[in-house]
Amino acid sequence: MTVLLFGALWVHIAASVLLTGAFSVLLLAGPPPNPGMRRWEQRVLSWARRLVAIALLSGFVWLASRTAEFEGRPGAALEVPAIWHAMTETWPGQVWMARHGLLVILAAFLLLDGDVSARRDWFAARGEAFLLAALALIFLAGSGHAAAISDSLWPPAVDMVHLLGAGIWVGGLPPLALLLYGASCDGTTPDLYAVRTMRRFSRVALCTVLVLAGSGIAAAWLLVGGMAGLVGTTHGHLLLAKLAVLVPVLLLAAASRARLPALSDPNAGSSSPTARRMALFIAFEALLVLVLLGLAAAMTVTTPGTHGDPVWPWPYRLSLGASPEIVEAYPTSFARPPITYHAGSIKQGMALYTSHCESCHGALLAPQTTRRSAGDLFWLITHGRVERGMPEFGSNLQEAERWHLINALRAMSAAADPRRIGPKVDVDNAWLAAPDFTITVGPLTPKALSDYRGQRMVLLVLYDLPGSRDRMTDLARHYGLLSVLGVEVVAVPSRSSPNAIAELGASPPVLFPVVTDSNEDIAATYRLFAPGAAHAEVLIDRQGYIRAIWRSDISGMPDAAEVQAQVEILNAEKAPPPLPDDHVH
């Protein structure tokens, strides 16, 4: 079904682009002055009628195969209710209807063979046909990857500009080749009308190529993402192939452009052979462009590089740390971890580390572990390092377990970082991402630490009774003030207990969330940053970074004024850091 979808899309895009180009060249040429050129115009018009029919037909095949893809069964491609549902209930279906509505209007308009002998009628007819064809083409962007990746209007707008540029330049090549060839068959010099059209097209094409380059780079930035997406995904490979085909296209265009002065030079003698050679170059250009459009269609049916899982092709990569350096790389170096940086995952990973890794690596990891990407670690854990005596774990550990292990390695590396976080906030220096965790309070709907991102700070309190009782009473008293200052207090007793709230007593009432489940996961993870068993409080800023840690065994039990002062510092911070990624990198 994907092959059918791709084939239909290729034909549809090519027909839409050629249609737009045909009318743009007719407009550039202007009303034909003699019967020879009128014959050319009629051929272009007859070709345009066939192109509309092809665009409509391939559009229907495309819709049917897309319906089968939506429904997940090939039979749906032939079911009218399924196709109707895809047309009316999905955004791509609605865009399809709008575009094909325009194509139907264009088809009807082209079939109305009105008298265009008057200049005003001619421009109105060709201009209208160009407008309808161009609108049907650029609205393709409404259902492409660019429209799907963001709610912003910019990505589809960039795509629209790219499509219009392609329509004007690329789609104009076949009628132009036909014009030049036809105009140079009789006589020693080609028809002036053709020469003038070629010069106008050349100027427009130069601007269009610049627009295409700009919009192409912007689209690649949005959809391919970076080097890993470019060299490591099918989408990126198709883009590289597109660029490779574009090079000879541009060379042929340059060769045609270089012959332009000879075409219109009155002293050059016979210029018809030059025009025929240019027509040949342009015809070759048009053929290559069909391949380009096929690659563009293939890019449309593949996952964009930014959403794919890149397979890095080389043994080295550039590491952009504090000092950029070339480091070893593996096929999975840029793989995206499917499991978030979560306390539950980290705890499972720590248990796996103890049972599988600690006997060789010890409790502390080599410093270079921190420089490796999550994908590097995944490869090394999966395949081992035979030369260093590290066995492979691909056959012992499930894929999810290997990612848990990597999350644990990241947390352990972060905890071992020489930069320490103490009870004072280091202004404008957020670096330690807080692992996410689930906040379960009895049978209430659970929340997550990440739910507070961008909204409230979180004071995570790791406590044990009876040692922490006075501090918990103090927190209960000052909760109202902390809440007003934008802080949510999340209390985590050392053990999961359904009676955790009752154990804190009735007076003063404890109104902040007291975690009753999965406490061990949170404690095990956050004890990496606040080791020991003593009462500890971790201040997490609105962006999700750990900014201050109090440990009763080191700095004494924190008091309300001390915490409030650090909260006020964070509230006054002018440049909040960017949100940390939910996945390790």
């Binding site: 201009g127 309070v441 709230i501 009735a506 404890v510």
Partner: protein, 134 residues
């Protein structure tokens, strides 16, 4: 005989009017209809709550809301409850609800998970009339 440029003008005017009229009339009408449906749904919910309140013995015009939550503090005339979303009344949060004088009280303590019912005409006068273990 109508000229081609006139056909083009008419076609574009029809397209512009079609799109503009379609958006201006049907689009706007759709927004209004959406609003009306939302209002009717809210009204139906309110009528259901008023019927429930009447069945439970409340006066005319009173509504009844059902909630689930955890008791955070219990006083003779007030319960502080961290509750889930209470449809038609409050989003999930911690709220203090007055307890009706005649409400059958069971001994509740901080940390107890309860299912509770409120009656009143709005949030301002909603009182807790019944509760049970959740």
């Amino acid at each position: 005989m109508i000229r081609v440029w006139q056909v083009v003008l008419l076609l574009n005017l029809s397209l512009a009017l079609g799109v503009g009229f379609g958006y201006g009339v049907w689009g706007q009408r759709l927004t209004v209809l959406d609003g009306e449906i939302t209002a009717l749904e809210a009204q139906m919910d309110q009528l259901t709550r008023e019927r429930d309140a009447r069945l439970a013995g409340a006066g005319a015009g009173q509504q009844q809301w059902e909630g689930h939550g955890i008791v955070r503090a219990a006083y003779p005339k007030l319960l502080l409850i961290t509750h889930e979303d209470i449809a038609g009344l409050l989003p999930a949060r911690t709220t203090g609800f007055p307890v009706a004088d005649l409400a059958p009280r069971r001994a509740v303590h901080p940390g107890d998970a309860i299912r509770f019912w409120l009656q009143g005409t709005s949030y301002d006068n909603a009182v807790l009339v019944k509760m049970e273990a959740w």
